[in-house]
Symmetry: C2
Subunit: 164 residues, 2 copies
């Protein structure tokens, strides 16, 4: 498994926020019900997105979360990095420099193992796929799916799928 439910739920959450017509805050409770996800768990996940400054929050009654940026400017590599901590193909990859790209701890003196060569290539593939996908694209995709299924009353978001 590459990603955990943190990434799954976190991305769903962002897509829900992106689907919102205005940018008035949306409560987690509403999102949890919409997506059929456990509220308490979502709270911990959204905290990761907030720390990464991908969402903003308003506390108190009628509060909630909204996107901190335009969906066009949010790429999935940032998102997954915020949610999962890093994109490491292998346990020998230890957090090192910059944006989720991590280096192998096996050999430090310039030498490299053959497996590192392979995992770096894989990691590159993952990060590139993430980087070229924007939140806006996912929002558009999910909107299209809705239209294809049922003409919805405007602003009424139905759950994309219900596990419950």
């Amino acid at each position: 498994m590459i990603f955990t439910t943190k990434a799954e739920y976190g991305v769903r959450l962002l897509v829900e926020l992106g689907r919102q017509p205005s940018d008035s805050p949306v409560s987690l409770k509403a999102i949890a019900e919409n997506e059929g996800l456990p509220l308490a768990y979502l709270e911990r996940i959204v905290a990761l997105l907030k720390r990464a400054e991908l969402v903003e929050s308003t506390r108190g009654a009628h509060g909630g979360y909204r996107l901190a940026r335009d969906p066009e400017n949010v790429t999935m590599d940032e998102v997954v990095l915020a949610l999962e901590g890093s994109v490491a193909p292998m346990s020998c990859f230890v957090d090192e420099t910059d944006d989720g790209r991590v280096l192998c701890s096996h050999v430090d003196d310039g030498e490299a193992c053959a497996t590192k060569f392979l995992w770096l290539r894989v990691q590159g593939g993952v990060i590139e796929a993430l980087r070229r996908t924007t939140l806006a694209e996912l929002v558009a995709f999910s909107a299209k799916q809705d239209v294809a299924k049922t003409p919805l009353p405007l602003g009424d978001a139905l759950p994309l799928h219900s596990n419950a």
Copy 2:
């Protein structure tokens, strides 16, 4: 984490076999010592490679394992598939058709969720990176590393790194 140590150790094992000048069988014990890996665990891993017909074995004294094919014709997507079972980006991806590519179980009636769209893209990136890497390439890489470090007596394989 994308892959577990099964992939790591399994690939190392194959590289070791590929480094062998002749194709007389090599015992797991030798490989375990060379790479500093636990023998009993390696036994279980090599069983996966054998089931996938990537290695062949000879039992009994002076037995061991050898590659079943030319390293040029062994691509890493087969290898990782054999070792890890599948390359699923997310738990909702359930084993389905063909070569490790799996489909989302969330929605079955033609509809799709936005996250599935994303994970499919990521999965594609991983599989493509694996598919374009051959065992021969990794063997060549590891040989080059050796030369760069110390001129070795021929046929004497030093450990690439020692954890022990």
